[in-house]
Amino acid sequence: MEMLCACVCVCVCVSVSLSLCVSVCVCVYVCVSVCVCVCLCVCVCLCMCLCVCVSVAVCVCVCARVCVCVCLSLSLSLSLCVSVCVCGCLCVCVCVWVCACVCVSLSLCVCVSLSVCVCACVCLCLSLSLSVSVCVCVSLSLCVCVCVGVFVCLCLCVCVGLSLSLCVCVCVSMCVCLCMCLCLCMCLCLCVSVCVSVSLSLSLSVCVCVCVCVCVSLSLLKMSKRRSAALTGAQGISLAQKLLRERLCHQKLPDQPVGLDSQYKHLLELLRRTAVHGESNSVLIVGPRGSGKTMLLGCVLRELMSLKEAQKNVLLVELNGLLQTDDKIALKEITRQLHLENVVGDKVFGSFAENLAFLLEALKKGDKSSSRPVLFVLDEFDLFAHHKNQTLLYNLLDVSQSAQTPVAVLGLTCRLDVLELLEKRVKSRFSHRQIHLFSSLSFAQYVDAVRAQLSLPPDFPDPKFSDDWNHSVTKLCEDKTVEEILRRNFNGSKDFRSLHSLLFLAVSRVSVSHSTLREADLIEAWRLISADSKANVLHGLSILELCLIIAMKHLNDTYDGEPFNFQMVHNEFKKFIQRKSHSIHKFEKPVVMKAFEHLLQLELVRPVDSGVCKVQREYQLMRLMLEHGQVMEALQRYPQCPTDVKQWALSAFG
């Protein structure tokens, strides 16, 4: 009994140990196979990575197939490991493995050959393009030599014929055949690793080759670029002018609005609430002309559209009071900008009432959460208030008040009293949010802004030119006369638009002969800007017309600004001719009349009421549109003005 027990025990022990052994074996095998798999995978991955991207698709396919095979074999071996003997398993595994290896090597070879071909093609193309673009024989030859040399050196390790065929790159098929042969041999020899290494080395060589090519081409390109960086003066000026003109004329949006930070934040917050949270709103941006209303809005919208949730969501409708001169046109434009033409079909050109009803229905159907928010931008808001019954404003503000589709109505206007223009029912629907833009710049900030407007950015292609330019701008801003000019302009208006026109005139005067902005340019620009246009016109009048103006001036002085007619002027003129004149001679009345009519045409003289047509021309009442000082100044500037005329103008009473 004890023997039996011992026997059983031993049996059990043996069986346990055997099973343990088997399990250990299996474990080891599994480990080894996993390791090999991982290695293989890593190798394959490496190969894949190094291969040229053209053959990626093929590689992925192959990789997937290999993976599936390996996985299958693994699962198979695992399931069979208990019951089936290790040898059979090993055999199967080896078979599978060999199959996989062959497959991998084949595919790899194909990939490599393809990639090599492509690489050669790319090389040739690159060298060709380089040769065309650079046109420097030395560099071309150098490049080609380097390419070919490196390539040949690396490829000689594997096969001379292969490298030769690659270099010549005549027939793709021959290359493929060679590759196949090579791969078969390798498979037979079961040197998968060699194959892998070969492919690795090949791909490496290809990569190195490509890299070298790219490097060479890049360096060559850089060289040519550096040559272009040393621009000639004319090119530098034209580039700088192009940049500055875009800034000064085209009103390109600045990166950040100057001096309007609080308004910027306020407006952005309001719009974000509509765009993101779906809150309806209405706001007016009020500021004098040229104070940057449109610029502010542009910056805010740019920022808003960069938000991810607003980018695709927000609908923007831009209207301008100058263009949409009545509600019907405005409504058509809204439907067009909301891309509702397709929905409405031919009804875009239907009646006003239909359009409005449709639009309102569309806007009211939505709700706060699901509808896309709509931003209505109304430029020249005050002009919309002149539309009949203010229908458009009423409806837009009404929608913005009721919690329907989120709508933001943004009005831009230069009229401070714009709220007075609104009807009561419209006004009560407006949120009474107003953003006022009044420039609070000090003069020092203003000068800084001038410097910023004029200086070239750091990414200007010619650093030397931009340095010189910026230096001259800095020096210019410190100049006394320039400062005086800027101060006068600043005292006239703080807005940037008048500044832009001044700077534009100065910048446009820069030419090849003087490549930096000089003080004289700004002075000349100021002279052009500040010229009195009426004085200019007076300068071109004939002596007779000037005499008539003086006569009118005297009439104005005597009768204290009462209107006059031609007969009175002629009478005054005749008195002057009779009494005082030595140089001016008598003219026939029609000739004087013609001169008078010329003044009328120039609108230096204006009829008091043009409605009365029955009055004869001579007796029509007129007013002089010139100041006393303007006449006297014009007289001083008039070329070769006769002395007696001057005397007459200076005398107190005719």
């Binding site: 004319a234 034209s238 002018q241 192009k242 003109r245 875009e246 004329c249 085209h250 002309r289 040229g290 301008n320 009071g321 100058l322 263009l323 949409q324 001169t325 058509k332 434009e333 067009r336 005050d382 009229r415 638009r497 008048s498 026109s501 534009f504 005139l505 446009s508 005067r509 030419s511 090849v512 002969s513 052009l528 800007i529 010229a531 246009s533 009426k534 200019n536 016109v537 071109g540 009048l541 004939s542 002596i543 007779l544 007619n565 007969q567 009478n571 001016i584 001679h585 026939e588 029609p590 000739v591 013609k594 001169a595 609108e603 029955k614 004869q616 001579e618 007796y619 070329p639 070769q640």
Partner: protein, 494 residues
């Protein structure tokens, strides 16, 4: 006619501009990268005396691919070369431009049509709806320019821009900021004679760049006018002729176009003594004496457009045959019926005399003359300065009866003559036409006209002539009224 002692010019001071001087002036080189140099040179040669304007304008425009200022306003007197310079630049440098004369555009639709067809071809313009609004124009422009973005700055040139003020109120402000509205490289150039201040709308608008074309100085006018000299005479002779012409006309007219017209018209007269062999080219004084009165006459007729240039030439031909001077005034040729003339004279007297004076002037026994406060203060300023006053029909008829020498029955023919005078616009009816019982009229002819009529009525009207003259004097110098009244009453007693 001017007396020869008070001559405005002296022929000795005629200055002849040397041709070398001209060449030196023209050879100002323009530096403008981006444009072909030889074209610029030929452009500068074709635009004499506008070199600085040309250079400034080119600098403002910049290179063709650069942005230019959204709107430029160019002003200057008539015929100072505004549109000529701008259009020459556009045509010679082959820049994309649309040139529109605002006089031609009775509606803004025509303007849009011209602009679109100049930039994008007639197909684009055909897409405009029938009565295009600004909104349609901007939309279509945007659509077209997105298809073919501007590689060069596009220019819209609006000549005689003052007419745009009469069009749609938003047209001008919108065009001034068109670059911003269509987001394209486009510049609007406005040309006008009137200063910018007259354009600015109530609530302001985008301010364009102002650019002035100054008038030509006298020397420049001589230089330009000397260009079209006659081939069979020397340039020096023509220059001296131009100097004489300017001596007469320069104080009245500085319009190059008008002066040129006058110069061409009168040159044959100037050359007459040369052709006849009476004078040599160097004999400038003689030539001047010949032409000067002729030019004075031209100022009264051709300059005022009272005769056409064809008529003027015709008359020159006549003068050659029968060297007689003729008055060329147009308004001396109106023929009126006998009573109509008297009616017109009566209307004139009624319009320009206060009603209170009628008693003194037209009654034989007008009673005592009170010296003091005869004329009220507001009556003292002459009607000849303030214009005609309306008068009722009765007063007209009363004066008419008193001035006509024979008795006239108040028949329908007399009244119908009044209405025909109204239709001729020699009289004008004041107030509404439906006032049948006491219509009021105003005389709307000048004193010269009345004098011309009264001269040709009859002997008795010499009296009226005097009367009218005395009335003029009376109205101008109130102080001398007493002596005048006696003179007038004496006349009536005759």
């Amino acid at each position: 006619m001017f007396s020869s002692s008070s001559l405005p010019i002296q022929p000795l001071c005629i200055r002849i501009i040397q041709p070398s001087n001209l060449i030196k002036r023209m050879s100002v080189t323009l530096q403008c990268p981006g444009y072909p140099e030889d074209t610029l040179r030929s452009l500068a040669e074709r635009l004499p005396c506008r070199e600085t304007q040309l250079a400034t304008l080119l600098a403002l425009m910049g290179q063709p691919d650069q942005y230019s200022y959204p709107s430029v306003f160019i002003y200057g007197h008539r015929a100072t070369g505004k549109s000529h310079v701008v259009l020459s630049i556009m045509k010679d440098l082959e820049l994309p431009h649309a040139s529109v004369d605002c006089v031609e555009c009775v509606s803004s639709g025509l303007l849009f049509h011209q602009v679109l067809s100049a930039f994008f071809g007639p197909d684009a313009a055909a897409l405009l709806p029938r009565c295009p609004s600004l909104s349609d124009f901007v939309r279509l422009y945007k659509q077209m320019s997105s298809n073919s973005p501007a590689t060069q700055t596009r220019y819209i040139i609006l000549d005689r821009a003052e007419r745009m003020r009469d069009m749609d109120f938003s047209l001008l402000p919108a065009l001034l900021r068109l670059q911003e509205l269509v987001n394209d490289n486009v510049t609007v150039i406005l040309l006008s004679e009137i200063v910018w201040e007259k354009f600015r709308p109530n609530t302001g608008c985008f301010e364009p760049l102002l650019f002035h074309f100054p008038d030509y100085s006298k020397a420049e006018l001589v230089q330009i006018l000397s260009w079209d000299h006659h081939p069979s005479y020397t340039p020096e002779l023509y220059a001296s002729y131009i100097n004489i012409l300017l001596g007469v006309f320069f104080s009245v007219c500085r319009d190059l176009r008008e002066l040129r017209h006058l110069a061409v018209l009168n040159f044959s007269k100037f050359c007459e003594p040369l052709e006849k062999g009476e004078a040599k080219e160097s004999d400038i004084h003689k030539l001047w004496k010949n032409i000067e009165p002729h030019l004075q006459r031209a100022m009264q007729t051709v300059y005022l457009r009272e005769v056409s240039s064809v008529q003027w030439e015709q008359q020159q031909m006549d003068e050659k045959e029968a060297t007689t001077l003729r008055v060329l005034s147009a308004h001396a040729h109106i023929e009126l019926p006998y009573y109509s003339k008297f009616l017109l004279i009566a209307a004139y007297l009624a319009s320009f005399n206060p009603a209170r004076t009628d008693r003194r002037f037209f009654l034989k026994s007008h009673g005592k003359i009170r010296k003091t406060n005869f004329l009220k203060k507001h009556e003292k300023t002459s009607n000849h300065l303030l214009g005609p006053k309306p008068f009722p029909l009765d007063r007209l008829m009363a004066i008419f009866y008193s001035v006509v020498d024979s008795r006239v029955a108040p028949t329908a023919s007399v009244f119908s003559q009044i209405s025909s005078l109204v239709t001729l616009q020699l009289l004008s009816q004041v107030g509404h036409d439906d006032q049948l019982d006491s219509p009021k009229y105003k005389c709307s002819v000048s004193l010269d006209f009345i004098l011309a009529i009264s001269r040709c009525v009859c002997v008795c009207v010499r009296l009226l002539d005097l009367l009218a003259l005395s009335l003029v004097i009376q109205s101008q110098v109130v102080r001398q009224e007493r002596s005048l009244f006696t003179a007038v009453s004496n006349l009536h007693l005759l």
